[in-house]
Amino acid sequence: MTTTEVPTDIDRDTRLALYRQVVGLRRFEERAHRLFMEGLVKGTSHLSTGMEAIAAGVAEAMRPDDLTFCTYRGHAHTLARGTPMDGVMAELLGRANGVCGGKGGSMHLTSVEHGVMGSYAIIGAHLPIANGAAWSAQLRGSGQVTVCFFGDGATNIGAFHEALNLAAVWKLPIVFVCENNLYMEYTPIGEVTAVEHPAADRAGAYGLEPIIVDGNDPDAVYLEASAAIERARAGEGPTLIEAKTYRHGGHSRADPGDYRPEEEVDAWLARDPLPMYRERLLELGIDAEELDAIEQERQDAVDAATEAAKAGPLPDPESAFTDVWADGGSSWRN
């Protein structure tokens, strides 16, 4: 991994912004979990609890008009770009005030106005799509950079390979971020992968540098992402970053994650990005009160979002039959 020392070249405001992100994402995911257990979130949901430093670090390195592509585990990435919690929470609850009017749900969060170009639930599929957005930015000369998140498991599917090669050949302004949380659904990635580092050990196959970063360290992620985004914006092509992390909970829904060895879970819980980063900020001389205030503000936001979501109306029944076509409808005949 690139660093274990405390980076010094990050300013105070950025650090506070990172902290605010990590706290907010944590509180949001905790609430989402509770609402799932209460039966208010239907279907499924995949949380980023324990993995928030990646979403936070990358998002802080992005420009407002940059573009994000998420997986089904996309709450954190969607929120980190500034999508309001209300709309995201309401979407989880299938309400009309959700970002996708209840039609997308937890796995398909999208907020184009915040540069969140969608959450894709087929492993690997969004890597080629993200390329397209990057290609478009290149063609339009917009200077936008695209960031595409995916899991360790996604590195073994064909679309990963096709996308990385094309991105490299076309020198696309894109950053691929592999969140390596050591597991696919329940199977350890190491059991089904020919190399130790599922993303970094493949970088060379696309003429790219192998990069591994501590995904539990917001500063480290922020720096690595900033450098990659800068390169992309300068026309130097794609970067593939492998961020090592761990999910505190199970893969989805009510999964307790008990297929994981206790010592492994404990070791990673001891590296929980939230208290670790708080500790670092305190060490760097930031007041506890200031951090507490941020925590309170984020908690309030989550509470407010929960209320707004619960109070949200069910979708108009008609909306089941809208938005298949650009004319707004679903008619396939005259």
Binding site: K42, G43, G102, K103, N156
Partner: protein, 326 residues
């Protein structure tokens, strides 16, 4: 003797029955071994049959189906799981263009006896990419057999028939049925592909349904009888390829009316195929329009309140049939 078990338990039992019988049956897929499957349909198989015969794979659907195909060509009888039928799209080339065509292209030199089992269909609020009913995708490809049971007993018997079949079978488990219990007789069960079942006799109209639509059609038939005195015959197709057209044509020629109930979206669904067979071969027996009840031609929404408006409901079946009978 009989026993009440879930459709989910029937899957485990079906796989175990065949793996015990035949050492050349092997099973591969994502999270199927150590974890027992994401739908918990394969619990205990690793323990009983060991890691040589029950294998976890990477998230590589083409590699999974390819491995099954190559093994089937060379003496094994693989069962491959594709976790959700939506993911067929990621390995459609292997299924539709390789497996389905190998025997024909080689003039019979290559035989591909395998089963691809998958969780198909909606109702679980999983949204557009994890809820598709894709039975028509498979039906439209020459060279694939297509099976979709509606009960635990049918599941075991048809699964056994599929594993023992010399041809590739796409075996669709309807995921909303997993928790549903039904009666299963003791002992080995082996059913026959290409046989539909009249699950409710009737005189006024034939309702043809599949998988999760069968219990809905039955309930609708009950309501039609009780509320409107309409006697509907319900046929569980069970196997789309081979298709038991005799049972369907015989029924329609008696009832003189047909309605199909499909979970797949409207266009080019299997109901259209059955309607076209009836409209060609049974035309002179018909006393009224041919009715299709399908999911409308939309991707599925995630929200429960919206999803319930899309899949054919008992109510919609009742109304459509009543309307067809004027």
């Amino acid at each position: 003797m009989a026993e009440l078990i879930t459709y989910r338990e029937a899957v485990t039992r079906a796989i175990a029955q065949e793996m015990r019988r035949d050492g050349s049956v092997v099973f591969l897929g994502e999270d199927i071994a150590a974890a027992g499957g994401v739908f918990k349909t394969t619990k205990g198989l690793l323990e009983e049959f060991g890691p040589t015969r029950v294998r976890d794979t990477p998230i590589s659907e083409e590699a999974i189906i390819g491995a099954a195909m190559g093994a089937a060509m060379t003496g094994m009888r693989p069962i491959a799981e594709i976790m959700f039928s939506d993911f067929f799209a990621t390995c459609w080339d292997l299924i539709a263009v390789e497996i389905a065509k190998a025997r024909y292209m080689t003039a019979g030199q290559v035989t591909v006896p395998l089963v691809i089992r998958t969780a198909n269909g909606g109702g679980l609020r999983f949204g557009a990419q994890h809820s598709q009913a894709v039975e028509n995708w498979a039906m439209m490809i020459p060279g694939l057999k297509v099976v979709a049971p509606s009960t635990a007993a049918d599941l075991i018997g048809l699964f056994a028939a599929s594993v023992r079949d010399e041809d590739p079978v796409v075996f669709l488990e309807q995921k909303s049925l997993y928790p549903v219990k039904s009666e299963v007789p003791d002992g080995e069960l082996v059913d026959e592909l290409g046989t539909a079942k009249v699950v409710r006799p009737g005189d006024d109209i034939t309702i043809v349904a599949l998988a999760a639509m069968v219990p809905r059609a039955l309930e609708a038939a009950e309501q039609l009888q009780q509320d409107r005195g309409i006697s509907a015959e319900v046929i569980d197709v069970r196997s789309l390829v081979p298709l038991d057209t005799r049972t369907i044509l015989d029924s329609v020629s008696r009832t003189t009316r047909l309605a199909t109930v499909e979970e797949n979206p409207r266009l080019c669904g299997w109901g259209a195929e059955i309607v076209s067979i009836v409209g060609e071969e049974c035309f002179w027996d018909l006393d009224g329009p041919l009715t299709r009840i399908t999911t409308p031609h939309v991707p599925l929404p995630s929200s429960d309140s919206l999803e319930d408006l899309t899949l054919p409901s008992v109510e919609r079946i009742v109304e459509s049939v009543a309307k067809a009978l004027g």
